[in-house]
Amino acid sequence: MRKIKAAEIGAEAIGKSFGSFAALTDISLTIGRGEFVTLLGPSGSGKTTFLMILAGFEAATTGRLTLDGHDLTNTPAEARAFGMVFQGYALFPHMTVEQNIAFPLKVQGRTDSDIKRRVGEMVEMVGLGGHSHKRPSGLSGGQQQRVALARALVYDPPVLLLDEPFSALDKNLRGQMQDEVKRLHRELGTTFVFVTHDQSEALALSSRVAIFDKGTLQQIAPPKEVYERPANRFVAEFLGDINILNISDVSVTPDGAQASFEGQSLRIAGMPGTPSRVLAVRPEYMSLCLTRPDTGNAIAATLRDLTYLGAETQLSLASAGQVPLVLSVPTAALPTGLTIGASVWAAWPPDRGIFL
């Protein structure tokens, strides 16, 4: 498989205003060669705007862009020639699949035989053999998606930008396309910047996830880190359910910290973040006990609801002080004879609590 000379992109204090509205504020990040970075955030958080600035379709109001260390801020889009997959595909409707994929090569003035060979390779790679003479209107959504991918990849762009490329696909096709994108990234080694507002997609695909909120960058880190060590409460809550405990009497100890919650003394190990008054624990790290466990942290609570989800069962609890707790417990590990209203304990290991 051919390898592409991937590029490193840098953004320094990028800001973008539309009139008086600040769509992006002070975004600084570096995306390394061959990295797969996902931009994740709620609707309107500025993901598309940032991607458009990277591609050169929008000019940043403030800040600087670099490509492999060279200034890129004022380079027009056609000179950057990053591959781009738009939401909704943006295929050329008057061209066949083959002609669509050949277009960027024609722009580069490649020879006909070269174009023919490369287009053939690409068509095979995205599994569209047999469809190459169809127009986009004759293709299914997933097939159009593949054409868009092939068209963006065929000319070996140093960077590939993808804006919610799978949002229109059903779950199965989505999973299939995710695998495909992952494989393409592995094989080609291009730098990928992928926009989504689906958190599981972001965690599954990327080497690092950049989380946006209201035009600011909240955290950029590998998936495991953003999930397990969120930089702040927004990130923690955006990436799935999390239990938030307002703790008191926080004190630092040699191996971590100590605190109390509703009269229970808690231990926090491994120092996840700077000690604060907010402790967060993911539902899957909490377990349900009928009696107080001998080790680890535990809070007395009442069972409020129980939702069977197959392999997992989701439990809703309320602490003595009526703080809601969510637990995600393997169904196989669930104690028998649980009834709603039962007095139980929510327990978790000291190294699974996070300061926010």
Partner: protein
């Protein structure tokens, strides 16, 4: 959807009106063409072999082709500004398209006459500036006819073009730019082909209209650049040769009908985006 008889009832007055004012007279014309001065297809034979009539047909086709090409190209540029220009440009184009649209074809033809004739504004002005020593003949010839017709027909081309241009997906243009294509290539290889259905529709509309033009060629052609419609008029009202006039009418009608059928075929299956 209303049932057929009911909807037929609702548009019955319109159908009745059309039958009375168009179909009945047209059937009369059809009869004339095969009965005057004597029964038979002799007038069609004359119409298709008489060098004079043939030359009018040829001129009509030539003028219509030139007018279509010019009007559609001009309308394309204008519509581009209308659809994709700045707000000021849009307003300017709207005024330039709509104001002439409301002025009668007769008034506009005389306007062009005043502007282009030998003693007209343009010639006088250029002569007084010393650009020209002799007046330039711009009316009473095909040039004048083409100018007048193009001006009249641009708005009719602009509307189908505008709807095609509005349907173009902006992201496809961005995508092409993002792949390194310059402005000229994006325009020529992406934008224009994506508006092809509008260009075809505009061309057909303009051509069909142009075929039956009467007032503009009569005034700006000054009797020298006679087109088919004027020939019919002359045959019926001036030289009493009703049979030939009728045969020419039927031929023109068939040509327009064929073009319209083509237009319908293009439009009905829904534009490919």
């Amino acid at each position: 959807m209303p049932t057929l008889p009911r909807s037929a009832l609702l548009i019955a007055p319109l159908i009745g009106f059309t039958v009375l004012t168009y179909l009945v007279p047209f059937l009369g014309i059809l009869r004339w063409s095969v009965t005057l001065p004597e029964p038979g297809l002799g007038q069609y034979q004359t119409a298709l072999s008489d060098p004079l009539v043939l030359s009018v047909f040829l001129r009509t086709l030539r003028i219509c082709a030139v007018v279509t090409l010019t009007a559609v190209s001009a309308a394309y540029m204008i519509t581009l500004l209308w659809v994709r220009g700045s707000p000021a440009q849009r307003l300017a184009v709207e005024l330039c398209i709509l104001i002439p649209f409301w002025i009668s074809v007769l008034t506009r033809a005389f306007g062009w006459l005043a502007l282009l004739s030998n003693k007209g504004i343009l010639n006088t002005w250029m002569q007084s500036l010393g650009i020209l020593s002799e007046p330039l003949t711009m009316v009473r010839n095909e040039f004048g006819v083409v100018v007048g017709m193009v001006h009249f027909l641009i708005p009719f081309a602009a509307f189908p073009l505008a709807s095609a241009m509005r349907a173009v997906d902006e992201r496809a243009l961005l995508a092409a730019r993002g792949m390194g294509a310059g402005r000229a290539r994006v325009f020529g290889q992406i934008f224009v082909p994506m508006t092809a259905s509008g260009i075809l529709g505009a061309a057909l509309v303009v051509f069909v209209f142009a075929l039956g033009f009467f007032v503009t060629p009569a005034i700006l052609g000054g009797g020298r650049s006679v087109m088919a419609a004027e020939l019919i008029y002359l045959r019926i009202f001036q030289s009493p040769d009703w049979g030939l006039g009728a045969a020419v009418s039927v031929i023109l009608m068939l040509a327009v009908g064929a073009m319209l059928a083509l237009l319908m075929r293009r439009v009905r299956p829904g534009r490919p985006q």
